[in-house]
Assembly symmetry: C2
Homo-oligomer: 474 residues x 2
Amino acid sequence: MPYVLRKLPVPVYGTGLTLGLIKNKLSELEPAIQVELNCVKPRTSVQLGVFNVEFFRVSHSIPDGVGLGIHTPLGLIIHTGDFKIDQTPINGEGTDFHKIAEMCKDGALLLLADSTNVEKEGYTISEKEIGEIFKQIFRTATGRIIVTTFASNINRIQQVIDAAAIYNRKVCIVGMSMEKVTTMASELGYLTIPPKLLISVDELKHVPLKRTVIVTTGSQGEPMSALTRMSMHTHKYVKISSGDTVVISARAIPGNEVSISKTINNLFKLGAEVVYENVSEVHVSGHASQEELKWMFNMVKPKYFMPIHGEYRHLVHHGKLAQKLGLAAKNVFIMENGMKLAITKEKAMIAEKVDAGQILIDGKGVGDIGTVVLRDRQQLAQDGMVIVVVTIDRQSARLIAGPEILSRGFIYVREADELLNEAKTRVKNLIDELVKDGTANWPAIKSGIKSVLSKYLFDKTERRPMIFPIIVEV
Amino acid sequence: MPYVLRKLPVPVYGTGLTLGLIKNKLSELEPAIQVELNCVKPRTSVQLGVFNVEFFRVSHSIPDGVGLGIHTPLGLIIHTGDFKIDQTPINGEGTDFHKIAEMCKDGALLLLADSTNVEKEGYTISEKEIGEIFKQIFRTATGRIIVTTFASNINRIQQVIDAAAIYNRKVCIVGMSMEKVTTMASELGYLTIPPKLLISVDELKHVPLKRTVIVTTGSQGEPMSALTRMSMHTHKYVKISSGDTVVISARAIPGNEVSISKTINNLFKLGAEVVYENVSEVHVSGHASQEELKWMFNMVKPKYFMPIHGEYRHLVHHGKLAQKLGLAAKNVFIMENGMKLAITKEKAMIAEKVDAGQILIDGKGVGDIGTVVLRDRQQLAQDGMVIVVVTIDRQSARLIAGPEILSRGFIYVREADELLNEAKTRVKNLIDELVKDGTANWPAIKSGIKSVLSKYLFDKTERRPMIFPIIVEV
């Protein structure tokens, strides 16, 4: 949000918790920016130009979610946002069936719906069932309990707090982002914490282990997270040992499986009991499964359908689901970022593209790094680099010092004397040959060094380090 | 195998197919080595010192698997290898219940059993059920079919061939490893291919698309594999288009989820129908689930138990499973690589460790790259590198040329003039300061350049490129 809002300083409309999270994010980035934040509630609407946007409650893994009913001159557009249909939501506020039914009693022009879980049959389990599992774990655990989840998963944190209160354990929130979010959510009334239940990290040592619960981040095996450091036995305050129960209450985000698995293995090696999605129902998704998606589609009765949220394959499957429910294939639009859907009274069609894509934020740089720099990093990571320094006399064009060879990430230098000496000889011979007429053609020398060395090093090692010839003329 | 056998030239015992695969592998690595390969059959045994090793058939994702019954002076050791209990195996050869029962009628001293699927409840589905799904896909596909699986999954390939024969399609094997393995397996009789069913890549263009099946590798989204190239539209012979059905008949190996997902998305974008594990039963595991593991444990009745195959967490869970079946915790041994289990008449215990670990093979180098080189690669990959070249006069110690700055993977140089000029100025000022007494202390200049530059560049970019100062004295 801070990056987008800096480029695009527009007013923002959101529910209380959403704006609280945005304020947190905005406070993290220097320099501060002024943003107009407008707090809205479900079942209210705002007029924006010709559009009247109505908000309706949806269930998700985080409280205070809303979908949008956008009333346009051509008809109603429903945008679900992330949603599921939780029949027993934690805070009593489920997806607003009645409002959706009322808005869509004559159908809608277009539905945009969450496709994340379209590959899952049936219904997504209610968040409340996690509470039962937590209570079971809390009832039987004989030592300390450590629960890790996303900081934004406030319903999950509420259930940990509820279970801790029932089974008489103190709760300690560990980690900056978890602390910030829980403080904000509790101030805004989205998290109910009984008095004296929370303790600080310093107070932990005064409470018996079996009377404590630690809530922290690191469910994705992030290298610097509290849980990962605990699993490596390098966390300052929390040393895992036999008797501890660690609950990983989150799904693996694709790409993180290996680091999560490593964290779990390390926790087991330290003697902890580890409970995670594969072996116990300690996580449920916040996204609708097939039967819920069918319900939403049939409730909205859209003329056109654009599946959103999910990878391309999810959009394709969601589009097929809509066809199974009776929509003509020509009224399903599988869109990629930057594509525009144009709707007229008569028809809907894909219009011209706009520029869209990803912008890499690296350190302080926003979008300053492109393909070339990334490709260089990749090559450096693959086989390392070799620097060759030669000093050439300006008058005679003769080699007067070097070649010196320096490498990083290529080979263990102490055991590669022979290889590097032979490489030096080859570079020396090449230069002697190239300058024998008394003139030094720099570009020819540079590209000569590159090709001689890369061929030689590949023959010997089958690696392709990046080669930098540096010629100093004196 | 080639790497191990080169270090450890011992005789090898294996079944026909296993030895065939080993021969393939041995032929790939230069220089060739001489290995004694001994072909064994299930229900035979070999005497090796005091041990008599008996082979018994097990089901797995590849044919001709055997477990080991090792008769020792202290009792029987059962090593399952990779196994599952497939009640309807493809080639009629399932796990040999009778042999296991006979060997273990009085129990066994020690069981070592496959733990890969210990987190899965119930039973692993039979390989034969995949055949039914394949037939369904072959019956309904209107265009070309492309099936990808592991080259070693010969049972799976057999089922593709069977379905192709039934539905009158020609089969084209694409990719070096797939061709080698299928040729070998068919020569040895492990794969039954009807005459004239196979066609070459060149012949593909003479057969209508809907009469063809392509079998290839790339189920893990490997960058250079045939399937990945097809999904990028860069494969020489096979251009994916609408009407094609791609079947990914394999499980994602942890760590490959992202590249597989990308391949699937790209295939969908090209218009193909893609069938994969999440949406259809086109793959079954080759490893036993909980009920099968219980069966094996109770059949073997071991005194001691050492779970094997799987990550540490799987071993822990398998150990707990054995305890649920009545084994005392002290008789379960969760071992890591390099640990030794010593068994005497009276007891079993973990004995001293031996050296064990991973050896990195990188290009032609076997184990020549250690932590330092890998850490350098990681740092280079993270933020790139900056080379600073300065030329200093030997007599006066004055800077006579440079500093020149060269970078890769750090920043887009054309847009970083200001940053790099200021960096040069700072290096120049530093050197002027350090050599003002007329002497050049090289180590001080080098470390000075590193610290001045890394501080400056971090302040400006929050990146930490690797910095190489190169000083030329003339």
